[in-house]
């Protein structure tokens, strides 16, 4: 059975790292049909739309999508694309790799970020010359769905420790947002309790202090949308930056995979971007489509290259994107 995968390179280094990830996927004994689609700043310049309806529809109908990055138009591209694949959870692992300079080498966490509501609900109003409001939305249904996913994730040993007993931590600000984050917190903890999964909690501000002080105490972290955005980016800072971080926007029968980094305009077009985050996103795509062994092989190859293979400039080397990609393919 062939998998239809929509490939959206986007802008900047998206045009370099996504082809690298596709090259890795093509080197595996898995049958893909890749469909190219456009989105981003360049697309907006050319067509007037950052995300053409055709791209939205392709992503919505595919088995999965691989997306690179978009520049100024990032929010206009990625938020609707998350909607196109009906994604309710954004899976964001942040792991320090041996041999890579990291502020906290013991960091190995996975954020499960609510992907549809919170302050991302899109309801904003200019009520007067002086006053604007945003309606932050939290539903029990979305909170419970995220929590069910988190429980399965932990039960299946997909957390960093691989041990279902590790449970998860829910990070929130329910002491201030009592009704909305209160609902989120309550539903997430209730689902964990129902399913017999261990869950503890942290206020998100306290979590932001504790994560840099002692990341080893955390594994899987479940958060509302913006909290997950900010706290996972904080974790990126602890493992050496965004260059290594993949992510998965998982929906009910569709998903979109993207490196967490942006377009890196300073190095775009030079062929020296680090393909690791995009290739690890491809590994998540493989696992999502059921090719768990192949996903593992890609991960192992990436880790091997990170520990003693060629490196791009962000990791202190001078290898090209192409050379690093070839080294990964070589180790598959």
């Amino acid at each position: 059975m062939s998998h239809e995968v929509v490939v959206i390179e986007g802008d900047g280094i998206g045009r370099e790292v996504i082809p690298a990830a596709v090259e890795v996927l093509e080197a595996l004994p898995v049958d893909f049909e890749f469909v190219e689609a456009d989105a981003g700043d360049a697309t907006e310049e050319a067509t007037g739309e950052a995300l053409p309806a055709e791209t939205y529809d392709l992503a919505a109908d595919a088995d999965a999508t691989l997306f690179g990055a978009a520049g100024e138009t990032a929010a206009d591209v990625i938020l609707p694309l998350r909607d196109a694949v009906d994604s309710f959870v954004n899976v964001r692992p942040a792991k320090a790799y041996p041999g890579v300079d990291a502020l906290r080498p013991e960091t190995d966490v996975v954020f499960l970020r609510e992907n549809t509501e919170g302050v991302y609900s899109g309801h904003e109003d200019r009520l007067s010359e002086d006053l604007s409001t945003l309606t932050r939305v939290v539903t029990s249904s979305a909170s419970r769905e995220l929590a069910e996913f988190a429980c399965e994730f932990v039960e299946d040993g997909r957390g960093p420790a691989g041990d279902p007993d590790e449970g998860f931590t829910v990070a929130h600000k329910a002491n201030v947002m009592r009704e909305t984050d209160g609902r989120f917190r309550e539903e997430v903890l209730a689902v964990a309790e129902e399913r017999g999964v261990d869950a503890d909690e942290e206020l998100m501000d306290a979590f932001a202090t504790k994560l840099p002080l002692d990341p080893g105490q955390y594994g899987v972290i479940v958060c509302p949308n913006l909290a997950g955005d900010v706290l996972s980016d904080l974790a990126a800072g602890l493992v050496g930056g965004l260059g290594l971080l993949p992510s998965a926007n998982v929906g009910h029968d569709n998903a979109l995979f993207e490196p967490v980094h942006g377009t890196a305009p300073d190095i775009a077009g030079e062929g020296i971007a680090n393909p690791t985050a995009a290739v690890l996103s491809a590994a998540m795509l493989l696992e999502y489509l059921g090719h768990v062994d192949e996903g593992r092989r890609v991960r192992d190859a990436v880790e091997g290259v990170l520990s003693d293979g060629p490196r791009t400039g962000d990791l202190g080397g001078d290898a090209t994107t192409e050379a690093v990609t070839a080294a990964i393919v070589d180790r598959l």
Copy 2:
């Protein structure tokens, strides 16, 4: 002229570190009238109210308030107290001290956090069995008032570098919260431009990655309410924890000073809490009341003790709160 200062110890180690801060203030040639008032968990247990109206009124009418910490009732105490002193900005310095173990010893930043609105507006609704909302509020007036304060702060050389040319950074999420954070961002940058103060900007998620990677590039950071809460707590993790961080809630002709740490129930009552954050909060109170030299003396004494004086357990020593406080007073 005597200054009337309301002293609210609150719960936990608040009862130990606030008396220490008062002891330091009393050792200076400044005339204070201290008025004790109650708030917190113990007060709620005794009276049914975490923040009695009398305490609110005392804080509202005083020249300044020194507050310790509250336990479970923290939000019920501190949010109304910020309102009592009519505070529009929360000033939160995070600085690593020589001799104190810090993840990023080069950290020296000051957060200027909007202190009245954002998701702290207090407007939440349970709209259905499934759905709750929170109305996030951003006004031009509050954004501009914060920005005016930030410009003065920078112009007066009160930023970490002491150099007005350093300007400030505004951190926000205007790519998603386009109307509300868009307004915030626009007004803050407009005020900076009007006053000729240098200002640049960061998305708050990108800031959370970059601060741990390279804190040295930042000085004064201006943020919406929740962003300031989380990002300043992140900075606390980089300088070695909350034990050293003071804060000032500044209003129009009143202010409240509090250590950023909480009640530390694990060590409360043992006389071993670190008084540094409370004493540094007292130094901010001195400066606020116009006693800039005395504030400087307290800071210098604290820094001296941190670098070669007795230390409490959190800093690897075994000195008592009393011994550290005596050492600070000794160096004044």
